[in-house]
Amino acid sequence: MQVSVQEKLKILADAAKYDVSCSSSGNSRSNSGGGIGNAVAAGICHSFTDDGRCISLFKILMTNHCIYDCAYCINRRTNDRPRAAFAVQEIVDLTINFYRRNYIEGLFLSSGVIKSPDYTMERMMLVAKKLRTEERYRGYIHLKAIPGASPELIAEAGQYADRMSVNIEIPTELQLKKLAPEKDYLSVLQPMNQISEGIQSYKEERKKFQRVPPFTPAGQSTQLIVGATPESDREILQLSSNFYHQQKLKRVYYSGYLPVNEHDKRLPAIQSPPLIRENRLYQSDWLMRFYEFSAAEILSPEPPFLDLEVDPKLAYAIRNLHLFPVDINKADYHFILRVPGIGVQSARMIVDARRFRRLTSYHLKKIGVVMKRAQYFITCNELPSRMANWEPERLKSHILAESRIKRRKAGDTQLMLFPPQDSPASVPRQLHFKN
């Protein structure tokens, strides 16, 4: 029996790996009543895989059988892959035993759709229910809401889960229709709206009453695939900005498209996943969540894609040179936050420290500001502004060249036998979409 669990675990963990989300943050719960587990607000990562991603939650599919045939998904019906399904009790046992050994922070349960969305959702809900009521488990649970499942089931699941998520995957309705003809956009948005309303009313009730049954207290998240469809970065950022502001989502994850189904002609043929683009999107996402940027500021109207060469904050500063230089000793926190090379922590420290003395570039360096980028955009006690008469394009190439020189110096210890060919990296690779 153990052997079969081994096999199933391999198959179903392998199938679950394309879900990016693995955070266990957002909820704090102590372990009252002698059960097992608690939740830590900051979240805890327990391991890191060879690709550098954290393992916080035990991320597993209940089954990788699926009735759908979505072009971008590895578990689509028409793929010839080993299939397996866990029984409810098996997942419960694995979770508890991993948790007791401090391997994991909680459970992340997703599933392919078997029989019907309702049937699948019910079984997933049962796992969470069993963990909470029978095992008295008080650790973290993240449940996927299955699009098309009945509102009652999702409401019940929300009582046991800390976080729920519905994956949008394809940013626009048109493309979703093309790649997943059996799904419709509305069935994805419906559970998302239901969950966000549920959270909203839970928050309001908690202000009025002492004891309210919790409803996904750690909020909800979603995931978008980047690079599988021709959507521009502007569309993607606009969409996630809407999610943050209207649906009050906690996180939007971006997953660089991996060519999992190469035979499908609806998908672009790419050699390697678009990791840099994914990284730039995450940087923009951080700008929206922690740096008080709006989606419109990150991308100006002309180029619909993010600059792959420089990060979005630097790109913003170069486009808006008239807003700089910022005086470190006088400017508002919100303006200091916008300077490239200054992060949230440095900005806070600057604001705290300048009450005692006027800060110089030496202090800034010590505090942790990246002067390599920041020096062009600030004035401080003695530092003359290096802004002088930079043209935006020249400044950009100047900063890029300096970072390149540094990288070259680091690798300069030995002459190369075959000097590297200059690759035209600045020209983004053209993707071809067949209609």
């Binding site: 790996k17 097992i36 391991s47 420290a353 800060l359």
Partner: protein, 256 residues
Amino acid sequence: MAYLIYDGTFEGLLSTVFQCYQQKITPTDICREADFQEILFTEKLTVATNEQQAGRVWKALQKKLHQRNRELPFMAFLSGEAGVEMVLYRFVRRLFDTSFSIETDYGDADVLQLKKMERKVLQETSRLLQFVRFQETKDGLYFSPVEPAYDVLPFTIRHFKDRFADQQWLIYDLKRDYGFYYDLKTVREVEISEKTFSRVDGKVKADLLQEQETSYQVLWKNYFDSINIKERRNHKLQRQHMPQRYWKFLPEKSSK
């Protein structure tokens, strides 16, 4: 002007600060007894640790510091970096001398350095929460060996006591040879004289392990390997988050 020598404990350092105030000494340097190198032509003074004096300094510090910085001097001291004593001494002096709070004066090298040391120690504490791995033994005890860079095990006990309230556990610091044992009611500090586990990587002897323990370790390793996306390999990032010195304690990383 004098070289002050103390016994290397935090109480010892606080007593030294007390002595400096009482005898009006301006120290050139404060050294641990173990690290002190003989110097000719200077005055040197060995300060005896005095609980009462240390207590008075600590209490005064608590009164003066902001709530979120109450542990700052101790945390920074735990980092054990060279020169931490003088940094702490100057910080304490300045703290007592000024009427306003100087804890956020990051333009001051001492304050900034203390903050950075504290951050290091706090990070080690959270790494402990991440990378503790329990092995279940036949008598139902969950055992975990650890080897933190700084002596931070006591800071994690509250977390583990709350989280694993219904299982007996023992977390043992191999480097400093002490640990904490939870018997379902209270946590006790223990020292094990006869070790039934490896002193190097803390593996419990195979015949003492619970039957299913190894199979769960294999399951976990399988899971760890399957969840990895090969196309996105990034060992540098992995080592950055999970330094190699922890690997020998992790069933998913230690080679068998």
